[in-house]
């Protein structure tokens, strides 16, 4: 029963993938093609592009990504906890408060260190 629950989702997925592929395929054969050298350079508002776009970018984004992973794991951990919260009662609340408090220590540290500041 469990697996058959997901059968409609699978069908949905097949339909959606089919739709996307057919659309891209159709547009590539229907649309006309007229290639000119100007069309084929990266679009930079009419300026001639200098260099490639494969450049290193601000390390801030990596920090955000790492923070996201840490706190998203917290969120994922909260989901099953929330579902059985009524059975865990006050015990569950205290345990989760401790868990969140530990993560909040890290959050405060990150905050005070300025990892969330964007100049």
């Amino acid at each position: 029963m469990m697996i058959t629950d997901y059968l409609p989702i699978f069908i949905f997925l097949v339909v959606a993938v089919g739709f996307a592929l057919v659309t891209i395929f159709l547009s590539s054969i229907i649309g006309k093609r007229k290639i000119t050298p100007q069309k084929m350079i990266p679009y930079e508002c009419g300026m001639d592009p200098i260099g490639q776009a494969r450049k290193p970018f601000s390390v801030k984004f990596y920090i955000i990504a790492m923070l996201f992973i840490i706190f998203d794991i917290e969120a994922v951990f909260l989901y099953p906890w929330a579902v059985i919260f009524k059975e865990l009662k006050i015990f569950g609340l205290v345990e989760m408060a401790i868990f969140i408090a530990i993560l909040l220590v890290g959050f405060v540290y990150v905050w005070k260190k300025g990892a969330l500041e964007w100049e």
Binding site: I84, E87, L88, V105, G106, V108, Y109, K112, K113
Partner: protein, 484 residues
């Protein structure tokens, strides 16, 4: 739905909890408090360590399983926890002035050291391979960062990166070993593995044997045994000296704590299969460590190879695997903590920013200018070489007699020969200090009170354990009952 809440026994992980809470509070302090208040961080971390130490002593003799048999409280774990706490405390004491001199006075340093200690303690009290892995990762991650703590120094960064890459690689081996053992036995619980293995006829499942081999690789890396030692000299040389001191004792002890518990307890029915591997490892480790140490010009590299050699001696005791052998591992680890940390303490004190004084030739003529410091260094060198009446001598004596008693006479002979070899390069330092004239002017030394305390503790420990060894051996023997 029927929900079973596992029993929670806070006291079983009391020391770990104490240190974790201290570390978290200090982490907050390091960003929230005013710059003057931040100076209290090392002292507060000492307070937390002292509290954890008291807790360990008050828990002595109790034994309990906690958290669904994930964690065990017994004397064996407590003995190692005390070693870790002493190591951490001495490291903190030695670091205070050193960090200030080098201009890296950040609270995070102490926080990371405390978290590393927590990881090591979990490794000692692990009753499940999962906890072994968690503990290992916890302290490894902290030490990867600490090794690169002097982030403006390329050598420090190099050391950190090397340790991280190789460490992550070896952790993969360990984890794979755990997975294979889980596949073979259906459990990661040490007791469950023991019961499974003792019931099963020997040498049936290749999965189990491969898993065991991978565990040896993983642990072998952390304790720096040949052929998994390649990282040691570079990492030890580049890391901040205080961290080198910490690294040479803490992870090694933690590695052996888990190594012993897994192999001498959970996998003990397979002893005939793994003992010859360890025999070979022990011989290789001792010999390579000692021979290569002779050729070193940098004292940190020399001590790195010496720490490899000491891992070899401890492996000899593990091969003996009887009561005396196991107890001597614990005894030796305790002695090693004092003497090795002490030696690094002298190196820290003797160097300063811009003038590290880490070449062996820098030590020539030191005795004339600083007789007391030279005497302290000589004690540690004697102890590392295994000359009476120091702790190092008694430790080696116990180890080799255990090997003889267990019938590994060849191994004991190789060990003794190695030990004789090691006298050469340890005593070379002493000779340099006392019998050569100085090569250059010595700058004025101003030891901080904390460093003085640390050195006094280290000297006292080295001598005390060496002079009244039976007391400590008895403690060690009490501790290993849980494994037998």
């Amino acid at each position: 739905m029927n929900l079973v809440i596992p029993e929670i026994n806070w006291s079983a992980i009391g020391p770990e909890l104490t240190l974790s809470i201290t570390a978290m509070v200090l982490l907050l302090l390091s960003v929230v408090a005013s710059p003057t208040a931040r100076r209290a961080i090392p002292y507060l971390s000492l307070l937390g360590i002292a509290f954890a130490l008291l807790l360990c002593i008050s828990l002595w003799g109790k034994s309990a399983y906690a958290f669904n048999r994930m964690v065990v409280l017994d004397n064996y774990a407590l003995f190692f926890k005390i070693i870790f706490l002493i190591t951490t405390a001495l490291t903190v004491l030695m670091s205070i002035r050193y960090l200030k001199e080098q201009g890296y006075e950040h609270g995070e340093y102490y926080v990371l050291i405390l978290f590393a200690a927590v990881g090591m303690m979990f490794m000692a009290s692990a009753a499940d391979l999962i906890i072994v892995f968690l503990g290992l990762e916890t302290f490894s991650l902290a030490i990867y960062v600490l090794a690169g703590f002097f982030r403006a120094q390329p050598k420090s960064i190099e050391s950190s990166l090397k340790y991280f890459l190789l460490g992550a690689f070896s952790t993969g081996f360990l984890l794979y070993g755990i997975a294979l053992i889980y596949g073979a036995t259906g459990t990661t619980n040490l007791k469950g593995i023991y019961e499974f293995v003792s019931k099963a006829p020997a040498l049936t499942d290749p999965l189990l044997l491969i898993g065991m081999g991978l565990l040896i690789v993983g642990f072998g890396f952390k304790v720096a045994s040949v052929p998994f030692h390649m990282w040691t000299p570079d990492v030890y040389e580049g890391a901040p000296t205080s961290i080198t001191a910490f690294m040479s004792v803490g992870p090694k002890a933690a590695g052996f704590a888990a190594f012993l518990r897994v192999f001498l307890y959970a996998l003990s029915p397979l002893q005939t299969d793994w003992i010859w591997i360890l025999w070979v490892l022990a011989v290789l480790t001792m010999t390579l460590g000692n021979v290569v140490a002779i050729a070193q010009k940098n004292i940190k590299r020399m001590l790195a190879y010496s720490s490899i050699a000491h891992a070899g001696y401890i492996l000899v005791a593990m091969v003996a695997a009887d009561e005396l052998g196991t107890a001597s591992v614990l005894y030796y680890m305790l002695a090693y903590a004092f003497m090795n940390l002490g030696a690094f303490g002298v190196i820290i004190l003797f160097g300063r920013k811009g003038e590290e004084n880490v070449n062996i030739s820098d030590y020539s003529g030191m005795a004339a200018k600083y007789p007391l410091l030279a005497a302290v260094m000589a004690i540690f060198m004697f102890s590392l070489a295994g000359i009476p009446p120091t702790a190092g001598f008694v430790g080696k004596f116990y180890i080799f007699s255990a090997a003889v008693k267990a019938g590994y006479i060849g191994l004991a002979i190789i060990g003794v020969l190695n030990s004789a070899l090691s006298v050469y390069f340890y005593l070379r330092i002493t000779v340099m200090m006392y019998m050569r004239s100085p090569e250059k002017e010595f700058a004025k030394l101003e030891p901080s009170p904390a460093m003085v305390i640390a050195l006094i503790i280290a000297v006292f420990g080295t001598l005390q354990i060496g002079i009244t060894p039976s007391h400590y051996l008895n403690l060690a023997k009490q501790s290993i009952l849980a494994l037998m």
